[in-house]
């Protein structure tokens, strides 16, 4: 019991990391897959998780942290994600069709700024650069699924189950 609870990485995370080790000629290459599985499970990557990933990949925690901090995508335990992560695209094709207004409108409705999470911990709002769906501008990404041609009401409905 003690030993189980003292490990920050879930048995699934360890299994995923293990599977990836066979795919690359270097252990360091498993850094991103490891960070992804941990963040998907926990909504952030804690210092303890960094240390455990580093141990498995035979790196220093600083190397893991260096990579983690380069990609604005990963969150630390001080700044965890809400249950859903909503990205609103603001690059040119989306801007031309109302992307910036959509983002500003959601900030107003939810009373938060991009990067922040609603006080109930339900939704983290993020601004995105081109999501690769400019045919459906303005578009959004919830976790890793795209939705095209969305309005603020669509977003509320999809994210919070109400308009």
């Amino acid at each position: 019991m003690n030993e189980l609870s003292s490990s920050e990485l879930s048995s699934n995370a360890k299994k995923v990391i293990e599977e990836h080790l066979g795919r690359y000629p270097s252990k360091q290459a498993v850094t991103l897959p490891a960070l992804h599985v941990v963040q998907e499970e926990k909504g952030c990557v804690s210092r303890k998780a960094i240390k455990e990933i580093a141990d498995i990949l035979e790196l220093s925690p600083a190397q893991i942290n260096d990579t983690l901090s380069f990609y604005g995508f990963f969150r630390t335990e001080e700044d965890p994600l809400g249950k859903k992560r909503v990205w609103i695209c603001r690059s040119l094709p989306c801007m031309l069709r109302g992307g910036e207004e959509l983002l500003a409108e959601l900030c107003e409705r939810w009373g938060i700024q991009p990067g922040q999470t609603t006080p109930d911990g339900e939704v983290t709002l993020e601004l995105a650069e081109c999501l690769g769906a400019c045919d459906g501008a303005p578009c959004m990404l919830i976790d890793d699924e795209l939705s095209l041609c969305v309005t603020a009401d669509d977003v509320e409905k999809q994210v919070r189950g109400r308009a």
Binding site: H36, Y71, C130, D144
Partner: protein, 444 residues
């Protein structure tokens, strides 16, 4: 062949029921090109691709077969093929559609290209945001493994190959080929100084080829129908210019912005921007006129309305001052839109995405954004225009001040916006107006 008679090749299977499944792909003749290639010598496959004139679809337009010949002849270890599915250039979405609708077409191209380059492990680098693509590819790869199209002794040929999916983490710079390699290796995606080029020293310090998803999708068709067939489409090379490699084959054009029908269209290389907008994009929306058009992703800069008859082949956009064809992502901007807001949006993108390792790029992208922010607040000075131009001519691999081409991509929107729309910038600054756009500040 006229554009009216043209039948889609890469998008032929789009929208068919279960177009993503192996069984339907094989029923449509899929994987016959692979069987054909595996019966050839790998160098003969390289020769066919070289003879077809295929140029990379990822933005730089480098001849694909030629790139493969840069790999060392004598190998004392593995070669890697990295598929570039980072697709983050604003305006671009062709890789997404190709993968979601017809993953086996792309995967067949990857197996053939791996065989040609003697690769036994290929990495498919896919931007994280393409979750649906990831799941579609994962299932497609499983189907291939179950049917001896991947793994050991593919189709009894003695050739072995594994393809591994590798998900990115939302950073544009991972699309630059050496940034991609660093990211694949588990590091920050800082592009490398070249040379050495990846063909000599790439992923895991081994010879490596990086190719785009659409480039891969062309390969099975070239094997099936031959180099001459591929060269029957597009704009032939200029016989008076030895450096022109021509623009052959079909091309996916992404249309977005102020048109009635945004979407993806496949045509032989070389349609004009005007025809693309009017005949395939449903025309400019709200009965307005186009004011400016991006020919190939925001990095390429802007064409003015007068320049819309320019052919969108590899050479066309360069003739009107743009950086090139880029990704052939055409973004239409109508005449009700402020070029100050448009340029601000472009500059902010590059400031956000600069990896920060070269001072001219990191500072140049940040300062151009700040200057435009100030202009949009009604506090611009006329001298700002020349400061912006000076920044744009000082950053990038063309002036030779940066490691990678992101900075050239940041410079071109500034150059072309100011050179082609200077009176609008001057009038705006003199008026001291504030922008009406609700965009939030440059904050991350």
């Amino acid at each position: 062949m006229s554009n009216e008679e043209f039948k889609p090749i890469l998008l032929a299977r789009q929208g068919k029921p279960n177009s993503h499944k192996l069984a339907t792909y094989q029923a449509d003749g899929g994987y016959q090109a692979l069987a054909k290639a595996l019966a050839m010598k790998n160098t003969d496959v390289v020769d066919v691709v070289k003879a077809s004139g295929l140029r990379g679809r990822g933005g730089a337009g480098f001849p694909t077969g030629l790139k493969w010949t840069f790999l060392p002849k004598d190998l004392n270890g593995p070669v890697y093929l990295c598929i570039n599915g980072d697709e983050s250039e604003p305006g671009t979405f062709n890789n997404r559609v190709l993968i979601e609708q017809d993953p086996h077409q792309v995967l067949e191209g990857i197996v053939i290209s791996s065989f040609a380059t003697r690769t036994t492990t290929a990495y498919f680098y896919l931007r994280y945001e393409y979750g649906r693509c990831y799941r579609v590819l994962k299932d497609a790869i499983d189907e291939m493994v179950d049917n001896n199209l991947l793994g050991k002794n593919i189709l009894g040929s003695g050739y072995d190959l594994d393809i591994h999916l590798h998900r990115g983490a939302c950073a544009y710079i991972c699309g630059e080929e050496t940034g991609l390699i660093e990211s694949l290796e588990g590091k920050r995606a800082w592009p490398r100084i070249k040379p050495p080029f990846p063909a000599i020293e790439g992923a895991f310090r081994r010879p490596t080829v990086v190719n785009n998803v659409e480039t891969m999708a062309c390969i099975p068709h070239i094997l099936n129908r031959g180099a001459e067939w591929f060269m029957s489409m597009g704009i032939p090379r200029d016989p008076n210019n030895t450096r022109d490699a021509g623009s052959y084959g079909p091309k996916l054009y992404c249309i977005s912005g102020h048109v009635n029908k945004p979407g993806l269209v496949e045509l032989p290389m070389g349609i004009s921007a005007r025809d693309l907008i009017d005949k395939h994009g449903g025309g400019v929306w709200k009965d307005r006129k186009a004011k400016a058009v991006v020919p190939g992703g925001i990095s390429m800069g802007f064409m003015s309305e007068k320049e819309l008859d320019t052919p969108l082949d590899f050479a066309g956009p360069g003739r009107v001052g743009c950086l090139g064809l880029g990704t052939a992502a055409v973004i239409v901007i109508d005449d009700h839109t402020s070029m100050i807001d448009v340029l601000y949006n472009a500059c902010r993108f590059f400031a956000h995405e600069s990896c920060g390792q070269c001072t001219p790029c990191r500072e140049g992208t940040a300062w151009s954004t700040k200057i435009l922010e100030r202009i949009r607040e009604g506090r611009g000075k006329l001298s700002d225009i020349d400061v912006l131009l000076e920044i744009s001519s000082s950053i990038g691999t063309i002036p030779g001040t940066t490691i990678c081409g992101l900075a050239d991509g940041a410079a071109w929107p500034i150059k072309t916006a100011i050179n082609k729309f200077r009176p609008e910038f001057e009038e705006y600054i003199k008026s001291g107006r504030k922008s009406e756009s609700r965009s939030l500040a440059a904050a991350h």
